[in-house]
């Protein structure tokens, strides 16, 4: 198993290397990080040249890529080049933003898997019932929903709920403008109160769309296993319905959802970027928007590479989970 993990990680290194190189060429050749400086009144061409030289922007792409890569693996991700962020350290910027986004993504992913699997199994066991039809229609609606619109709607209803709470003489609960600036303070009850209030709406809006996909997949694969020969055999042996469903069918029916959950990490990430923007969180979403506006190569590279690595890791996790779920699969 450990050998398999190591081999898989080794295989993904060349892909990541090519990916970073192409990204680097793209990022450095497409935009000019010094355009803001250039546009300032009183800045001469010599000033721009000097700034470019000081930042190493005048070296050939290959040299710059090598410098960037050797720095990156040692944890030195460079500084932001554009003027706006005043040469901030990219490592801290990206990891801070990543932490915000990852919290949101994991919370949403866990909720979506639990709910999606539960609804999918129930819809399959009660096929063509009212529950099944309702779940199917809702899933279809959710598929067609842009995630940022769900977030906008939830936010507006959250504000209304807050107003209702205030008019009832209670504290406002749901936060619709980013996490509290001073962190979560007070006794345990207050921390839980403000923590759930902060996370509830962004998590739900991010969760709903993956939830729809998982419930559909779970339903389909559960139906397939329920009609398979070994389930019929189990039934013929006189095993109870509940035991057949959970022991025999459910475990194997989890496999497709595991794949989907791991592979949809990238999609979920995009969703998180949008959800954050609506709720005013300073995560990977706002970092991307600023970095793209200023065309800051180091921030953009840090952003792209971190997401790419995350996707590779989650794909690997999916492969490992297969083995635990299905003893027929052997990793070689």
């Amino acid at each position: 198993m450990i050998r398999y993990i190591i081999r898989r990680l080794l295989i993904s290194i060349p892909v990541l290397l090519v990916g970073t190189f192409l990204s680097y060429v793209m990022v450095t050749s497409l935009g000019d990080p010094l355009s803001e400086l250039r546009a300032k009144p009183g800045v001469t061409e010599a000033d721009v040249q000097a700034a470019a030289h000081a930042l190493g922007l005048d070296k050939p792409v290959l040299v710059r890529y090598w410098d960037w890569l050797t720095g990156f693996v040692q944890g030195d991700w460079g500084t932001s080049v554009a003027l706006g962020t005043a040469r901030a350290d990219v490592y801290t910027m990206v990891t801070d933003a990543l932490w915000v986004t990852v919290q949101l993504v994991i919370a949403a992913q866990v909720l979506a898997i639990i709910l999606g699997v539960a609804v999918g199994v129930l819809a399959a066991v009660r096929q063509y019932s009212i529950f099944d039809y309702t779940a199917t229609s809702l899933a279809f609606l959710m598929f067609s929903m842009p995630v940022f619109c769900v977030a906008i709607l939830l936010k507006s209803y959250g504000i209304q709920l807050n107003n209702l709470l205030v008019s009832l003489g209670l504290d406002r609960w749901l936060t619709t403008a980013g996490p509290p600036t001073g962190g979560y303070t007070g006794d345990l009850g207050e921390v839980v109160f403000s923590y759930t209030g902060t996370f509830l709406l962004p998590t739900i809006s991010l969760m709903l769309i993956s939830f729809a996909a998982y419930s559909r997949f779970q339903r389909a694969s559960m139906l397939e296993t329920l009609h398979s020969d070994y389930v019929r055999t189990a039934r013929a042996k006189g095993i109870s319905q509940a035991r057949v469903i959970f022991r025999h069918a459910f475990r194997n029916a989890l496999i497709p959802v595991t794949t989907l959950a791991a592979l949809s990490f990238g999609t979920l990430f995009t969703g998180a970027v949008l959800t954050e923007t609506v709720f005013g969180w300073h995560g990977m979403g706002s970092l991307l928007v600023t970095a793209v506006r200023q065309f800051d190569p180091n921030i953009l590279m840090g952003w792209l590479v971190v997401v790419a690595i995350a996707v590779v890791v989650f794909n690997l996790i999916a492969d490992i989970l297969y083995v635990f779920l299905d003893p027929r699969i052997r990793l070689g």
């Binding site: 990022v27 609606l141 619109c149 906008i152 949008l274 991307l288 792209l304 996707v311």
Partner: protein, 306 residues
Amino acid sequence: MADLTAPTTSGPRAAGAHEFDATKARSQGELVLRRFLRHKLAMTSLATLVLLIVMAYVGPVFWAFSYEDTSSGSYLAPSPDHPLGTTQVGKDLLALLMRGTQYSIQIGLLAALAATVLGVLLGALSGYLRGFVDSLVNRVVDLLLILPLIGVAAIVIRAISGAWFVVALTVAAFLWMQIARITRGETLSLSEREFVEAARASGAGTWRIILKHLVPNMVGSITVNATLTVATAVLTEAALSFLGLGVQIPDTSLGVIIGENYTQVMMRPWLFWAPFLVLVLISLTINFIGDGLRDAFDPRQTKVRA
């Protein structure tokens, strides 16, 4: 949709023939079309979508305001003059919506077309030739799957331009992989079949075999996936434009309109709800059409009978 009239059972071969013979004479394509035409949800969706498209393209000809016209007052409430009110800078929302719908549809269709052509060609090529080409295409797919679409697309669009076809082709560059994988899988099994061997024996080249013998046999899954890709492309474009990283103002798309106006959702709900409903309607109808096509191509999976 090439031919929406139901296939007729009359014609030269009907003379003196049994009624059942006429049914047998239907070609595969006619059967699929027949099943699709009987799929109520898909047909309703198709009609709605066509209506929406016609309104988006024909509407501006008759409408009093242009999407660029900022002469109206700021944030006017809906009235007979401005049925959906105006935005902050005094643009008529209905005019914006029509232009935005045009763009969303154009981008969705072009992106899906480009992604499908690229995906089918590369998928079929890698499945048919195998070996080096196959591993090369697979590595490219792996690479594109780990690169975050939203980041790369934002960079490319920012650098080149926010013109609709640039947005469409950039989005397409990240949507072809699934179609390529499906096509590759089907090609792997189809290329073992006798008719491909026969074609090869009679001297057909690689491209002829792919285009004349393999692709026509995969038309079902290609059509279904292409349709679903349109919906994905429309939503992706909306997401990019919502962040301000796609289509650029003064031009507009549904994502731009939502991004510009969503802060008004409490005060002036129509400014958010109108573009939101149009966007959902577009992607919902396309998904239903795709579902209907899947049922029509693969009748075993469905309760709809031809």
